[in-house]
């Protein structure tokens, strides 16, 4: 386990800012305790200071996971955000997409969101902007990337993709083995 280097921090923050914009500083600087990012086995974990101090007592090969896994760095040092980060991203999300109840299940199975399933979308969403996907009852379902800007979404036909699926809470069951 080690802290992130500057380059790695920069890559990660760039990815996070796609979804939560400048609210990252609320993750870094919290009023209710010191939380930090640590790297272990290519995965980035967001842990409180107390847990971190306890975790240093476990040997590297036996340590599976600490705190919350935000994502991992791939072999080519790109940062990939995992669904386990949803709890921290959802409250700070800048651009949100609401999915109709009919299409909810389809999204939870890993499919993209079509125009016919789109309930609401935040105004001013750019194309390829990172978005957090909610159900109509304001339950965060996962995240994605807007395939079309809000304007285009209005004009497009019902079967075209409006949000590319990136991660959904169905993954907790589908990829149980690989999530840490």
């Amino acid at each position: 386990m080690r802290p992130l280097t500057d380059d790695e921090t920069k890559t990660m923050f760039e990815k996070l800012s796609k979804y939560i914009g400048e609210n990252i500083k609320h993750l870094v600087d919290r009023p209710d305790g010191t939380y930090c990012f640590r790297l272990h086995n290519d995965r980035v974990y967001y842990i409180s200071e107390t847990i971190l101090k306890l975790a240093t007592n476990i040997s590297r090969d036996k340590l599976v996971s600490v705190g919350t896994c935000f994502g991992k760095f791939t072999k080519t040092i790109k940062f990939r955000l995992h669904i386990t980060a949803l709890d921290f991203l959802a409250p700070y999300a800048k651009f949100k997409v609401w999915v109709k109840p009919g299409q909810e299940q389809s999204f939870l199975y890993g499919n993209h969101v079509l125009k016919s399933g789109l309930g609401r979308i935040t105004e001013n969403t750019n194309q390829y902007q990172g978005v957090v996907v909610y159900s109509m009852a304001d339950v965060p379902l996962g995240f994605g990337v807007a395939a079309k800007s809000t304007q285009e979404c209005r004009r497009v036909d019902p079967l075209s993709i409006v949000v590319f699926h990136q991660a959904d809470i169905g993954e907790f069951i589908r990829s149980e083995d690989t999530l840490t």
Binding site: R2, P3, D6, T9, F13, K25, V28, D29, Q127, Q151
Partner: protein, 307 residues
């Protein structure tokens, strides 16, 4: 009387002893061969055929078996015993009878790719000789040390002290050292056409400690965030374009609404769709049409057909 009884007693005792011994002593012409490791006894005595025929065969065989077993057990008891959990146990020696194979012998495995290649090329396994001190090198080393001492500098360590036979690694190291001994540490040195860039040379990476100064870390991350923010362009082109488009649409719809109001007051909810929407406005346009009811004059002709 008493004397008689004592003698009698003694005689009886002797008889008893003899009887006991009889039960455990067996007379044989030839001694048996024993393989106690396998609990085996080999009896090479001839069998008296007449005796065999006279007696009942079962009885003869049983007595023979009993005798041999007795001898075997006697032999077993000769070995050292020990007590294991209230049971007396004899430590058996190694078996002497060679037993045949339990499983079939292993088949010769097919030669590996390397073995085939080596056979093809005629490569033999070369044993690396143990390192022997090289007299030539010794002289060179001493010479360099003398020079170093005279000029008060250190002896160059890395592969530069010459030896008679330089191995591949030594030569490679020498090349690397020579290459990086330039003013810019070998950064602009050309490589030979097929030479690969060395990837593993370099110092070991150093990371911050796991539990360092938290406030420092926080400060550094916040600074990094500030830098990232400043790098983002002030004018987001996409956003600006979208905003502009929205404004235009709104203006058009407002204009249409006014016109519609003058004519027939059937203006339903026009949601930002002007002629500028072009062929893409099918969905929302139709919704607008529903709200309107029967289309009015010119407007009506425009709606379902052209769009």
């Amino acid at each position: 009387m008493a004397a008689c009884s004592i003698e009698d007693l003694l005689a009886k005792a002797e008889q008893d002893e003899a009887e006991k011994l009889k039960s455990i002593t067996v007379q044989k012409e030839l001694d048996l061969e024993f393989d106690i490791g396998n609990l085996v006894a080999y009896d090479k005595n001839r069998i008296d055929i007449r005796q065999f025929r006279e007696q009942k065969k079962e009885d003869f065989l049983r007595s023979l078996a009993r005798d041999n077993t007795q001898l075997l057990v006697n032999e077993i008891w000769k070995h050292p015993t020990e007590r294991v959990e209230e049971v007396i146990v004899v430590k058996l020696p190694e078996p002497t009878t060679p037993l045949p194979r339990e499983k079939p012998p292993p088949k010769p495995r097919p030669p590996t790719k390397w073995e085939e290649f080596a056979k093809l090329k005629g490569i033999q396994k070369k044993k690396k000789t143990n390192l022997v001190w090289d007299d030539v090198a010794k002289n060179e080393l001493h010479r360099l040390r003398n020079i170093a001492r005279a000029q008060k500098i250190k002896v160059p360590g890395v592969g530069l002290t010459p030896t008679a036979q330089q191995s591949k690694t030594d030569l490679a190291r020498a090349v690397n050292v020579a290459k990086s001994s330039t003013a810019s540490a070998g950064k602009f040195q050309d490589r030979l056409p097929k030479e690969k860039a060395p990837r593993n040379t370099g110092k070991k990476r150093k990371f911050q400690p796991v539990i360092g100064n938290f406030s420092n870390e926080k400060q550094r991350q916040l600074d990094l965030l500030k830098v990232l923010d400043s790098k983002k362009p002030r004018l987001d082109v996409n956003k600006a374009v979208n905003k502009q488009m929205r404004e235009d649409d709104r203006e058009e719809s407002a204009a249409k609404f006014k016109k519609g109001g003058k004519k027939g007051r059937k203006g339903g909810n026009f949601s930002g769709k002007g002629k500028g929407g072009g062929g893409k406005g099918k969905g929302k346009g139709r919704a607008g049409g529903k709200g309107q009811g029967p289309p009015s004059g010119k407007k009506g002709a425009g709606k379902p057909g052209k769009r």
